[in-house]
Amino acid sequence: MLDLYLNAVINGILLGGVLALLAFGMNLIFGVVKIIHMAYGQCVMLGLYFIYTLVTHLGFPILLACIATLPLMGVVGFGLQVLVINPLLRAKANPLTQLLALAGLTIVLENLAQVIWGADLRGINVQLPIISIGNVFLRTSNLIAFFGALLTLWGLYLFLNRTYMGLAIRSIAQDLDSARLMGINPQAIYYLTMAAGGLLTALIAGFFSPIYAVHPHFGGSFTMMAFIIVVLGGMGNLLGGFIGAFIIGIVTSVSAAMTSTEIADIVALVIFIAVILVRPQGLLGIRVAK
């Protein structure tokens, strides 16, 4: 019994690493472009399909397929900025309208996937070994995803804090008008952020590809999960998102072990609702006066 919980906690931590990466992308986009990217999980789904197609139909080695998917998803992110987000910003749409438009986008992406790849589960077949330490069982694919995600987050941290471009992104997120006065072109940064967000979805898809098989409705639950974490940590707060990811990862993993996956999802959603009601600024957020 104790082993079961130990396993659940450790797997929760491993899941948390990937969720942290997912939440980071959504958080970055929210912080900079000020848009809740409701189709983020759906972008991960597209990335998984790209990898699947490259591997099974074009005969790419898995690693090469993952690398080739990076620019593809970057282009998708860029395209979303041009086709959806720019018109929204130009129409001066309120946050609610933006939310609805992106929710509408999920319908387009999910059905596009269904038309192209069909409704069946598609996965690349890789069997990675399972490592057992005492009574704890770890899947190598989860370990790769966990450490890969941490490494990526570290790289992103350095990028945001040590480069001129990172400084520009952070300043846009902090104060759009002042940033503009300092000679930063917000439009260029928006494109960059959305492309980077797309790149991240490809990376996440790469980490997911040995773990999950993809289907057209794969993304919805991950969008929800990322969003729960972002809200828990405070919208736009990158450190909060990082901590939130591990909390949600462990909580869902343990409650799934105790009851069922549905109950685990309910627990996560209830946390989300409670946070919005009682502490909308998130765990680490600072309440901003309107």
Binding site: A93, L96, L100, L112, V115, S260, E262, L269, P280
Partner: protein, 318 residues
């Protein structure tokens, strides 16, 4: 003088339609349009005042499952079940509504809380699979054609019943429009803080309108369940049905009386057309077009199709 005339003609056309086109398929589509128009109109009671809910699937699920389970297990007439389902939905709406309105959750945050709630109800239905049948859903026991048990073997009965329900929903809209509540809610929707300084009871009015909307939505769900005689958590709760309700209403125009019905009629018939025309070749193709149209309309016509047309005509007349 002109509006009543148009209404009478419209009503007569709907009334005689099954006589001239006795095709069960067309009657089925008509019934679906009326039932979903009823639900989207009920959704717009709130939506038009800035309370955009993306979780009306919660009320659908609560209403339909309360009535359906009571009928299957205890043989309770769905007419009573319908009211009980409505009451359950209202209790749920009041609980959540109070929490949201008390803490000042509005706009996109309100939309997200409700989105989560719709999913919570769906997951709860799936989790209690011993009673509810889980993801597989369950079928209502057949009683043949029975008024007491609100079942009919002929589609035509439900066609007329759902028209009657839709008329009630539209009348409730009219009633809300004339009430004092409408003015208060409009003030709240435009500027909450300003309204509260003028002494408008924000929480109270929002609670009332949310309860009405929840009650009607639950009733609509029972109507749908009785017609289809099959309940499934993926069609009666959760994110996709919740979004669809909102989208149909927004597409038609949630600010006008006929907007939600027009949006529903348009989407249901479009979906059917694409399904029939391209059904076997491109599954999901119709949904892509629908999604694209939706995104474009949300960006460029925030007042919806009917709402925009209405404005155009007003401008022409002026």
């Amino acid at each position: 003088m002109r509006t009543p005339l148009i209404l009478i003609i419209l009503l007569a056309a709907i009334g005689v339609f099954p006589i001239f086109f006795p095709s069960p398929y067309l009657i089925h589509i008509g019934t679906l349009i009326f039932i979903w128009s009823f639900i989207t109109t009920a959704w717009s009671y709130m939506g038009r005042f800035g309370l955009v809910s993306l979780g009306h699937g919660a009320f659908l699920g609560l209403g339909a499952y309360t009535s359906g389970l009571l009928f299957n297990f205890y043989g309770l007439s769905p007419w009573i079940g319908m009211l009980l389902g409505g009451v359950v939905a209202v209790l749920f709406a009041m609980l959540i509504g109070y929490a949201c309105f008390r803490f000042g959750v509005i706009g996109d945050y309100f939309a997200l809380v409700t989105l989560a709630l719709g999913e919570v109800v769906a997951l709860t239905i799936i989790a209690f699979r011993d009673i509810t049948g889980g993801s597989l859903g369950f079928t209502l026991k057949s009683k043949g054609t029975s008024l007491l048990y609100f079942q009919a073997e002929e589609k035509i009965h439900f066609y007329y019943i759902s028209v009657a329900f839709l008329i009630i929903a539209l009348l409730v809209w009219k009633w809300i429009d004339r009430s004092k509540m409408q003015k208060a809610l409009r003030a709240i929707g435009e500027d909450e803080i300003a309204a509260s300084t003028l002494g408008v009871g924000i929480i109270r009015y929002k609670m009332i309108i949310t309860s009405i909307s929840a009650f009607m939505t639950a009733i609509g769900a029972v109507l749908y369940a009785q017609y289809i005689t099959y309940l499934n958590p993926h069609t009666l709760s959760g994110v996709p049905p919740s979004l669809e309700i909102a989208f149909k209403a927004i597409l038609g125009g949630m600010f006008s009386l006929w907007g939600p019905a027009v949006g529903t009629a348009l989407i249901v018939s479009l979906e059917e057309y694409f399904r029939v025309a391209y059904g076997s070749t491109f599954v999901g193709f119709s949904q892509i077009i629908y999604g694209l149209a939706l995104v474009l309309l949300i960006i460029f016509l925030p007042k919806g199709i009917y709402g925009t047309l209405q404005e155009l005509f007003k401008k022409k007349r002026a």
